[in-house]
Subunit: 204 residues, 2 copies
DNA sequence: AGTGCCACTATCCGTAAGGATAGAACGTGC
DNA sequence: GCACGTTCTATCCTTACGGATAGTGGCACT
């Protein structure tokens, strides 16, 4: 079975490859960035499975994933990432990924997942979509009321209070109030800090 | 030689451990988060070397590193991270870390680095401090003058114009000008957007 | 020597943001 | 019924921000 793994973290790449190849029947090729991965797919393909790291030069979010999926010689392409966000996994599967491999997965499960995906199945870690969602959010999100979260979302999009007010169909003074109380809760002293803190926490 | 590696990415942990233990004389213990790492150090220490992942529950940036360094039974503590920022490496060494292991390191070098650090030396990847870093930045950064980049950095830290002015030892009107021209260049219409765009691009 | 580009300072103005405070409608729970 | 938290509206005030415009000095290109 031929597998291509692309990741700019050489340490991860080296050790994962050593581990996977120890399973016996899997041959692994590697690439340090997306461009190289494309070239290798064209030159040495087809591969039974391609694993692409999300945070790798050339990926540009999910656009690299989509590009790879549209290639002839990569029958199955999966995301391989340290980011364990559920919305990301959903987006990846939406654009046709063969699976979503978070780096929090046990190594043994990786081998099984690779075999599974190479067979044409879509893979998601057990207990990822089924697990309760309300609790996968940061402690941060839990301190905020629903309104405050909506307002925070507006802040992370760089919107002005007035815009947020329009979007939520509320008056501007109301937004200002939510913004202020929200600052206290997340520990920000202005909107930019609030936006960055929210992003940092992986919200939205 | 006893080594503790803490990382919440089980896949990385499993494979790295398998690789390191294959070297023969290194015994590896693992932890999935910082709290567990602390408990293990107290219970099973001392360790010749402790590797801590930066983005792990309980780490809180470098504060976990500092805590670990101050512990009796962890003689040498190093950072282990996917973030290849030079300033981060400097900060880590400043607070007394035994080394900085980016995940972009080849796996073979890891073994050597572990032995090196366990001997009491400080480790930094070759060509990390010496190599010129200025030009590997995004197209985004290249459109900006040095000043504008400094100001943008201030924005990504949620600072007010006045604060940035103080930090750079410039007047506030000057900062405002840079801020304005910088908006045009990156396509932002306010400071929050500028900060998010910069973060998105991976700057700072 | 002239032409740009960059960095800096400056003033003016309108608007946005941030803080304080007050009051009211609505649900839940006791 | 009453207390409580959430959401909403509102006013007042100060400061910060964003845009426009004008001018100076330095440096590199040609």
């Amino acid at each position: 079975m031929k597998v291509l793994i692309a990741d700019d973290h050489e340490l991860v790449l080296d050790t994962v490859v050593a581990f996977v190849e120890a399973a016996g029947d899997i041959t692994v090729t590697t690439a340090p960035d997306f461009g190289t991965a494309q070239r290798i797919i064209d030159a040495d393909g087809p591969f039974d499975l391609v694993l692409l790291d999300l945070n790798m030069p050339g990926m540009n979010g999910l656009s690299g994933l989509e590009t790879a999926i549209s290639m002839d010689r990569a029958s199955h392409v999966a995301l391989f990432t340290g980011d364990t966000s559920r919305s990301l996994a959903e987006k990846a599967l939406d654009v046709g990924a063969a699976g979503f491999i978070p780096k929090t997965l046990p190594a043994k499960s990786l081998i099984n997942a690779i075999r599974f995906m190479a067979m044409g199945e879509q893979y998601l870690p057990a207990g990822f979509m089924t697990a309760s969602q309300p609790e996968d959010h940061h402690p941060l999100a839990q301190m905020l009321t629903q309104r405050e979260q909506q307002v925070l979302k507006g802040l992370t999009e760089g919107k002005a209070n007035k815009e947020i007010a329009r979007d939520l169909d509320l008056s501007e003074p109301t937004i200002k109030l939510h913004v202020k109380t929200l600052y206290r809760k997340v520990g920000a002293s202005n909107r930019t800090q609030a936006a960055l803190i929210a992003r940092e926490a992986g919200l939205f």
